[in-house]
């Protein structure tokens, strides 16, 4: 058996003084989730050192190893879905993965106004599955501008439909965390 490098891990600091840990998989390498697991381990260590309350994991779409590696052992999964036929199908599969892992979850619908019917369907799927439904975010070029400017969308928008849903979702999930401590 020969050892092979599968990627690189980086750490950094955001503008808001929070630590960031991420990795780049080597080109063509098998994405078995081992690298994700290492990133999580390092994030846990840094969180301990800094006495951080929360670790947010930005997981990949899908249900195979990289997604499972991101989701295993977390307290909560927030699904960001879109109201399209493939979006609904992908959400259902991802929620099934969360159920199999026995992790509570909640759903946000992004770009909700491109299809009101499917947005409502997503809300029903979430509620019937016993998941939280945190609301709908409209399609907005504020997101594109924010990403291009390297800013968070809250810094770039005054659309209350966006700011209220994001703020409420974050605060509510954080409140849950404090109850779990």
């Amino acid at each position: 058996m020969v050892e092979r490098k599968s990627g690189d891990i980086f750490t950094g600091q955001s503008r808001f003084d929070s630590a960031i840990v991420y990795a780049e998989l080597s080109i063509g390498a098998e994405n078995s989730g081992k690298l994700s697991t290492q990133v999580r381990r390092l994030a846990d260590e840094i969180a301990e050192e800094k006495d951080a309350e929360v670790i947010i994991i930005d997981g990949p779409p899908g249900v195979s190893c990289p997604a499972i590696a991101a989701a295993t052992g977390v307290n909560y999964i927030l699904f960001v879905s879109e109201p399209t036929l493939s979006g609904v199908s992908d959400l259902e599969r991802a929620m099934e993965m969360a159920r199999k892992l026995k992790i509570p979850s909640g759903v946000l619908v992004n770009r909700a106004d491109i299809n009101e019917v499917l947005s409502i369907q997503i809300k029903e799927i979430a509620i019937q599955a016993g998941s939280d439904f945190w609301g709908a975010i409209p399609l907005s070029s504020d997101f594109v501008r924010a990403v291009r400017n390297g800013k968070t969308v809250l810094e770039e928008t005054d659309d209350e439909r966006i700011t209220s849903v994001l703020t409420q979702t974050w605060c509510s999930i954080l409140e849950r965390f404090q109850k779990w401590q």
Binding site: S32, C65, G150
Partner: protein, 166 residues
């Protein structure tokens, strides 16, 4: 060694000119690349048997094994990106895989809007043609959300598709 099920491959006839083959991993299964490889090979066999000349492999974003499996049997690669720093970053990683393979490559910019030149700059530097720009358009998004083929709703896209050659 005993064969074990990891997922399902399904074939659909969209119309007399279009066949769709999809691999769907069972929830809880970890490695997608095996299924990607099998789905790809099934598509190649079916195409050969039916005398079909054009195959499009729609691969997951990324540069890992599953993407490579989709790419290695292709004659050319189209990288679909969006005009943001994230789009540029992900595309440049995917491009490394394509460059190493020496396959012809082209870029399509999806959700195109003015105000960001990063993709064009990269395309110039690496000498990769941008063969199409699909505009950021809520009508297109609505039509796609319902499962419509965008080119049916927006004839301008047909012209783009017909002119693709590289």
């Amino acid at each position: 060694m005993v064969p074990a099920r990891i997922g399902q491959i399904q074939q659909y006839s969209v119309n007399e000119n279009l066949v769709f083959i999809e691999g769907r991993l069972d929830i809880g299964q970890e490695i997608a690349s095996t299924l990607v490889r099998q789905t790809r090979d099934k598509a190649l066999r079916e195409a050969q048997a039916a005398g079909i000349h054009w195959l499009v492999f729609d691969a997951a974003p990324g540069t890992a094994c599953a993407s490579r499996e989709a790419m290695i049997k292709s004659d050319a690669v189209v990288l679909v990106t969006e005009p943001t720093p994230f789009g540029l970053h992900d595309m440049s990683l995917a491009f490394r895989l394509v460059k190493a393979s020496r396959k012809p490559c082209a870029i399509v910019i999806n959700k195109d809007s003015p105000g960001y030149a990063g993709i064009e700059k990269f395309a110039n530097e690496e000498k990769v043609p941008i063969i199409a720009r699909i505009p950021y358009n809520s009508g297109l998004a609505q039509s796609y959300s319902e499962g419509n083929l965008s080119a049916r709703i927006f004839p301008a896209l047909n012209i783009l598709c017909e002119s693709v050659s590289f």
